[in-house]
Each structure stands twice: as C-alpha cells, then as structure tokens.
C-alpha cells in the first residue's frame, strides 16, 4: 500500500518537476475524486501534499547510533536559586574559563556539581576530579561502560580506562601502592600520546622520593620536550640533577654571599647588573639549573640557608629563585620558601602560583592567614594560597583585613572613571566570593550593598552564588 503511494508520488513529482499535467499519472481512485473539480491539477497537488505529510515518514539512511549517556556525577546539582546565579555568572557576566573553573571548585567544595544544561566544560584538566566521568564521556568515541567495571587500575585493564579516569586511578594507586604505580607507569606511559604521558608522569610528583629515580631516568630521553623538562625537575627535587659545573659557576657569580656576624648564617645578595644581556643570561640559567646545584655553586651548606639568607633587593632575581624552588626544590625547600613569600610583593603571580602548587592543603591552610593579612585588595595571592580551601574563611577572619577595608573604600567611591579601581574592586569581590564561607558571603553582601553597590551589581554575582550554596556533602 505504502509502496503504491510512494510510486504514485514519485511519478507526480517527476511530472511536476519538469512541468505539465500530472492528472493522468494518478491512480483511478484519485482521478475519480477530482473528476468534477474545476481545476483537477491543483486538487491533485493538494492531495499529494497531504499524502506526503500524512502517510509518509522519513527513515534514517543508516543504523541509528545513540550518543553514550551522560554519566551522573557523585554530587548533586546546586539548588535552583544557586543555579540561577551560576547561569548569571556564565551567560550575563561572562566570567573567564579559569574563573569558571574556580567557581566549579567552590561548588565541589560545598558538595555540588554544575548542571549540564547550565554549563558543559570543554576541557576538564583544571576542574575537580568529580568531573572525571564527564571528561571520559566527552572523549568517548563509542558507548563504553568499561571504566566503571574496575576498582583498581592495572596493566590488564589499562586500556579500559578513559584518560581522565585513568589518571585519577593512577593517583590513587600512587598513594596506596607506590611500587605497583611505578611499574605500571614504566610499562604503559610510553604507549600513550605525549600530552597524556605528561599528565601520567605528573602523578609521580605527589610524594616524590628516591625510589622514583630509575623510573624518571627512563623518561629522561623522551621525545617530548615537556616530558623531558618535567622529568629533569622531578630528578632535581630528589637531588639527582645533572647540571653542568661551568653553568653553575657562571650563575653563582651573579650573587654575593656574606656571613652574618651576629646571628650566624649567610646573607645572599643579587649583584647589580649593568646590561640587559646580563639579566637575560641570569634568567636563562635560573630557569635551567636546579636549586641544589645553585646552593652548591654558592658554597652553602643547604637550601634552607639560601632561602632564609636571601636578600629581597632585586625583584627579578627573587622571582627567579621562587620559580627555581617551585620547580626543582625539595618539599622542605618549597615549604621554607612559602613561609618567606606571603605576598605578591615583587614576585610574579605565576611564580607564586607554582610555589604554592607544591604545598599540601594543610600547609597552605596554615599560611593562608598570613597571606590574607599581607594581600592587596584584589586578594589574588590569597586565592592562589586557598586552592582547595574554597569557601571556608569566616567573617571574623576577613573583617580585620586591610584588603577588605580597601575594597569597602573602593565600593564607596564612584569608580566609573577609575578603571584600575573598578578592576581591583571586581577582582577583590570575586576573590571574596571564592574565599568566604556561606555566612560570611551573606554578611559581605549586606556590607557592600550598604556601602554603595546596588544589590544587583554584577560584581556581587559570586558572593550571591556563595550565599545561597548551603554546605552539602563535599567531594
């Protein structure tokens, strides 16, 4: 029946396509229906149109493939009011991708994940681990539920894990069975692409120890420059760096070492440089050499002596030292450096970030009050220090801060013509939104609206989101 209709319609279409009357092409029943019509051609046209709309239905050209199901995450989505504020941040205020990642960390810290209709990340490497299954889903070419079948990663099930989840599973293995993790990385890392290999080797960075040396040396001639650089840094952290003696001596010549007379120890001062070429060379060597070689080059007993005796007279040199410690210093050196650097005064935000990335959550938590105390109104150093500690600062901790006083002052002023002031205020309020706990966020909102800001001011967007995010089950 349907094939007859299709045949008739095809004949009609062929006729109309080239032009002419199609009445003669129709079955007898159609002709009978239109025989008394003053214009049978138009009547057939109406009938054919209806038949197409009514009786025919398109069929797919090939096999229908269903997109794999977006996995549910282990945390719930935020309450409706908070979702509304989140959408406002994303679509109206249009926060940057890294700010979005920070907000997603805040959500995770409170026990929530974003709703996929509100925001679907394009990249997941800056996001909390709870989004791992979304990352795998996004990378999946085919429907695959293999990942969830295995409790622990091993050489046999390696290929069944999607990259993001594989990395998370390796991190767990590294913490619980370091020897098994080392063996697995040695066997499997060379088989994956460079970008993924780099992320896998990064898992060794946690609790790096001398037992990792042979594994790292296995990658020291990797074809990827990024992998080689990372391996060099890791080897340097465990004291296995191989720097050229001439370069170490050349670098040490840029600094003067003097003994402190009264309290003992040393005083290390960067020499004044006369030319840009000298500065450039010092920078190159700082980026290349390890902290341990530098200490040896200066003739100091250990890294602690260097860091505690460092004179902050040349901002560029100090920044180089911070980066050197962050990249090649051992855990103790990084911790010592962090205690000395509690503000961004003269230190680049990148260097500061690299250094604090080396510290554990507890260490950063201990340093946070001091960082907050010394921070400027943008609170950017505090945000770096508080990674992983989002939304935990109370109003009592925030109230005495100089930064808060400056922000209140800026909020009270007309900043329409003060671009720098407006940017500082915007960044500071965003930082407060990341740092404050729910009660503090609520009180800060009241405080700033009383000062001069509209309750609807977009700068208060994150504080509003924070204020309506009750603590759930954190990740």
């Amino acid at each position: 029946m349907a094939s007859d209709l299709l045949q008739t319609l095809n004949a009609l279409k062929g006729c109309w396509m080239i032009g002419g009357s199609a009445v003669g092409k129709t079955p007898a029943s159609w002709r009978a229906a239109v025989q008394d019509d003053p214009n049978p051609e138009l009547a057939i046209l109406a009938l054919a149109g209806q038949a197409m709309q009514f009786a025919l239905q398109a069929t797919p050209g090939g096999e229908l493939k269903v997109t794999p199901t977006l996995p549910a995450l282990s945390l719930p989505t935020p309450p409706p009011q908070a979702r509304q504020h989140f959408r406002h941040l994303i679509r109206i205020i249009k926060i940057t991708e890294s700010q979005t990642a920070d907000v997603m960390h805040l959500l995770a810290a409170r026990g929530y994940v974003v709703h996929p209709a509100d925001y679907m990340p394009k990249s997941f490497h800056l996001l909390p681990d709870v989004y791992g299954s979304w990352a795998s889903w996004q990378n999946a070419e085919q429907e695959s539920d293999k990942t969830g079948e295995h409790d622990q990663i091993n050489a046999d099930n390696w290929d069944a894990w999607m990259p993001a989840e594989r990395r998370a599973a390796l991190s767990v293995l590294r913490r619980t069975q370091p020897e098994a993790a080392r063996q697995l990385i040695a066997d499997k890392a060379p088989t994956v692409p460079a970008a993924e290999r780099l992320r896998i080797i990064e898992t060794i960075g946690e609790a790096l120890c001398e037992e990792d040396q042979s594994l790292l040396e296995g990658f020291s001639k990797d074809r990827s420059a990024k992998v080689r650089r990372l391996v060099e840094q890791y080897l340097a952290r465990i004291g296995a760096a191989e720097d050229e003696a001439a370069e170490v001596a050349e670098f040490a010549d840029f600094f003067s070492v003097a003994k402190k007379r009264l309290r003992g120890g040393f005083k290390i001062t960067a020499n004044r440089l006369k030319t840009t070429a000298q500065r450039k060379r010092r920078g190159e060597l700082a980026a290349k050499l390890s902290l341990q070689s530098f200490v040896q080059g200066l003739g100091l007993p250990d890294e602690t002596e260097l860091i505690s005796g460092w004179e902050h007279v040349d901002e560029e040199a100090s920044d180089s030292l911070v980066r050197m410690v962050a990249a090649t210093g051992n855990e103790q050196a990084a911790a010592t450096m962090a205690t000395r650097i509690t503000s961004l005064d003269g230190i680049s935000a990148e260097g500061f970030q690299q250094l604090f990335d080396r510290l554990g959550k507890d260490s950063r938590g201990m340093l946070l009050p001091r960082v907050l105390e010394n921070d400027d109104a943008s609170l950017s150093a505090a945000v770096v220090c508080a990674q992983g500690l989002w939304g935990e600062i109370t109003l009592e901790q925030l109230k005495p801060l100089q930064a808060l006083k400056q922000l209140k002052k800026l909020a009270g002023q007309d900043t329409t013509k003060n671009t720098v002031g407006q940017q500082t205020l915007r960044r500071g309020l965003f930082s407060l939104g990341l740092l404050a706990d729910q009660a503090a966020a609520t009180q800060l909102l009241a405080m700033f609206t009383e000062t001069n800001l509209f309750a609807s001011d977009p700068m208060l967007g994150l504080l509003k989101l924070n204020a309506c995010l009750p603590p759930g089950e954190p990740q």
Binding site: P60, L64, A117
Partner: protein
C-alpha cells in the same frame, strides 16, 4: 533618591505618553506588582500575546520594558512608576526574578539620568503634566452616533477587503497552477523572484498573511537539504491550495481569514463569547524568535498545561526588527497560572492571556509534573491534520526517547524504537547524551523541532 511625580513628568518623552500611562493605571492591567529594595517590577498586559515586563530602579530611575515602543521611557514604565509613587502598598515584597537580575546585571553602575529636584511641581518646562493626563482620561467624549458610524464604516471596509482578498486568492491559484505547469525545477532554481512577485500582488490585495507565507517560502526551502526541497514545495503549495479553496468556500471563517488576511486583535478575542478558554498552570516549553523578510520579528512562545489533559498554546507576537533584540517575556521552564483565550480554530493553538493569576504560583507548581498522554504522537498529529489539513506545524508531546545519529543526520528515537523522526540542526553533545523522559516538540511532517524535555537532569531546553 526616590522617584517623585515631578521626576516622572520630567522623564516622560511627551504628554501623550503620560496620557497613555494614565490609562494603564488600573490594577486589572497589572496582575503582578512586586518590589525588592529599590527594584520595582510588574507585568502589564498590553496589546501583544505576551505580557510586557517592566522594571525600574527607584533609587536612580533606571528602567526597562519588554514592549516594542520607541518611546523611552514607554507608557508602561511611566505607569508603573506613577502607581508606585502614588501608593507603594499594593507592591508586594518578593525575590528578584531572573529577568530582573539579568537586566540589573547588564546595567552600568551610574544613575539612569540626572537627578531632578525633589520639589513636587507636576508641570514640567516642556508643558507635560500628570494632572493634564488624568483630565484627558476623564474628559473622554462618548458619542453613540459616532460609534454607530464607525461600526458601519468598519463593516464596509471588511466587505471591500474580502472582495479584494478574493481577487488576490484567484490570482494566487492561477499562479500556483502556472508554477506546476511550468515545472517546479524552474521554480526551485529561483524561488525568490517568483515568490516576491506574487507576494507583492497579495499585499496589494490585502491578503497579508498569505503574502507573508509566500515571502517566507524561499528561506524555508533553503533550510532543508536539496533532495527534500521538492517535497517541501509540493506540501506547501498543496496547503496553499487547501487554504485558498476553503476560504473561498467560507469567507466568514475566522481561522481561514487569519490564514489569508490578518489576525484578530487581542481585545476582539477576549470579547468573543464562544472563544475556547482554558484556565491552567502553564509551563513555557519553548520560544522561537525569527526575523522575517518583511522586516518583522516573530516571537513565538510555546506553552503546555500541567496536570490533566494535554494542551499546547502559542503566544505569538510581532515587532519591527529595527527595534533590535527584545528580551523574552518568559524564560523557558517558567510556570505560571493563567486563563488563556484561544483564537477560534479547528485545532485551537494560538492564544492570548485572558487573565493572569496574581501572586507567585511558582512555589506551588514546582512539583507538578508534565501531562501524561497515551496517544501515539504521530496519531495525534494525523488527527490534527484530519481536522485542519492546512496546519503545517503541530506541537506534540513525545514519550521517552533519545537523540540518535545516522551518518550526518540526527534523529529523535523513541525508547521502544517504534518511532524515529529527523530533527533539525545538530544538538549539543551533552543534550544528545541525556535520556529524555518526555519531550515537547514541533512536527511539520518532515522535521522535528525539539523545544524542551524532562529528563533525569530535570528540565532541559533546546533553545539555548
């Protein structure tokens, strides 16, 4: 600084705006009046199908209205300000809704205009006055003879219009036959030129709706793949033939007159004794905003009732594209309680809001689920076509299903695999990855347009 009557007078673009604002100062025109801090907002039922959303900031006289007026501030803003200044008591305290937040989020942190002096002078330098506006309303003359003359003239005009449309329809039928006899291949090679000529003739004949339909035909053809254009053209020409013949047979038919000539006004629908009215809690399931070739933007808001018995409604508004982007009145997913009056039709879909229930029903209706239907979606589509064969797009509620891909085309497929319908465009991957429990969609016999779905992730909208 709070608003004063003198400030409102100062803000008004002219005396006519104040006069018009005065006419809007009736509680029945404003089903919702709310405030939060300095923000004051309300919804005013204007001449469009969607209510206008109006907000102002009492501290600095900043304002926004979704109406298409070219006057700033418009009469709705002025009326809202005026009502608030005269008596803020009817304005309930409430949480700022998203559309107010969105507006305030986009504003600059400066005052909307220079602050006026706080004296209570009600006559401005430009001669505008609230008192004059109130007087103008009171002095409105009532002349029964003039009213009768007006009605007689309107009837005469309607008769002349029908005659003119009939001539245009005859010409259109002849044109359609010419296209078929001359070959649709030639038509498809240059649809713009062919449609433009007949559309212009139809405009002259006052068959405005049919003219717009033909004007839009080339762009509709371009939206489908080359191998499906002929099918779409035959379907559309067939529908045009049906409409023309049906209208010729019954020129008084409201639905058919709407399809060839022009639509009834909102007030005339509300005055109709036999108009279908449905009071329900409605959910906004979709919005389609399209710019037409005639320079108008069509804003279609699709509603679906919650609770027993499935019913869809379409709030359709048009405004000039030259006014720029207008913010939507409703957000997809929003729910509200209202009585809708439907335009008379064999399968009534287009409607206007007759009465909006005051208060904030969202809290009460949050838990209400979508209606359940046991009729297979294509059966209900065919049933609709049986009643109104000229309908090109029919809203449907689809059962559980998923988005699937075959080569480069995307399909909605029911969970039982019994139905597969091609969808327009390429859905976002995360949307394609969601199991849809129910989906509101539009089906035109060729392409399925997804509006929104209920899923394990809650409500999902496809328009974003």
């Amino acid at each position: 600084m709070s608003l004063t009557t003198s400030k409102i007078t100062e803000l008004a673009p002219d005396q006519a705006s104040l006069n018009a604002a005065n006419k809007l100062m009736k509680p029945s025109k404003w089903p919702a009046l709310t405030r939060h801090g300095d923000l004051v907002w309300g919804e005013c039922q204007g001449s469009g199908a969607n209510p206008y959303r109006t907000v102002f900031d009492n501290s600095n006289a900043g304002y926004k209205c979704t109406c298409p007026s070219r006057k700033y501030p418009c009469k709705h803003v002025l009326a809202l300000m005026w009502m608030y200044v005269e008596d803020p008591a009817p304005f309930a305290d409430g949480e700022t809704p998203q559309w107010v937040n969105d507006w305030s989020g986009r504003r600059r942190n400066t005052s909307g205009s220079a602050r006026g002096k706080s004296d209570e002078k009600s006559v401005s330098k430009a001669g505008k006055s609230l008192a004059v506006a109130q007087q103008a309303e009171q002095n409105k003359p009532l002349d029964p003879k003039a009213e009768a003359r007006r009605k007689a003239a309107a009837e005469k005009r309607a008769k002349a219009t029908r005659k003119s449309i009939a001539a245009g329809i005859d010409e259109l039928q002849q044109w359609t036959e010419d296209q078929v006899r001359g070959g649709l291949a030639a038509f498809l090679s240059d649809p713009n030129a062919r449609c433009r000529t007949i559309a212009a003739r139809l405009v002259d004949a006052k068959a405005q709706a049919m003219a717009s339909r033909l004007d839009e035909l080339p762009s509709r053809l371009m939206q489908v793949s080359g191998d499906r254009r002929l099918d779409l053209l035959i379907q559309e020409l067939g529908r045009i033939v049906l409409i023309c013949r049906a209208w010729k047979a019954n020129q008084e038919d409201a639905e058919l007159t709407r399809l060839v000539g022009s639509s009834e006004t909102r007030d005339s629908i509300l005055e109709l004794q036999h108009a279908t009215r449905v009071a329900a809690i409605w959910e906004v399931v979709g919005e389609q905003v399209t710019t037409r070739r005639d320079g108008l933007v069509s804003q279609a808001t699709w509603l679906m009732n919650l609770g027993d018995g499935l019913r869809f409604a379409l709030l359709l508004d048009f405004f000039p594209a030259s006014l720029g982007n207008r913010s939507s009145t409703f957000a997809v997913g929003e729910r509200f309680e209202a009585e809708l009056a439907f335009y008379p039709a064999r399968h009534p879909v287009r409607a206007v809001i007759a009465e909006r229930k005051s208060g904030d029903p969202s809290r009460a209706v949050d838990e209400m689920s979508w209606p359940v239907t046991t009729t297979p979606p294509l059966d209900s589509y065919r049933e609709t076509l049986g009643r109104a064969p000229w309908m090109d797009t029919v809203p449907m509620l689809l059962p559980g299903g998923r988005i699937a891909q075959a080569d480069s085309s995307y399909w909605w497929r029911s969970d039982d695999g019994g139905i597969a319908l091609p969808i327009g465009g390429r859905p976002a991957k995360h949307i394609a990855g969601v199991a849809m429990q129910q989906t509101a969609a539009l089906w035109d016999g060729m392409i399925l347009t997804l509006l929104s779905s209920q899923s394990e992730w809650g409500s999902l909208s496809y328009g974003e």
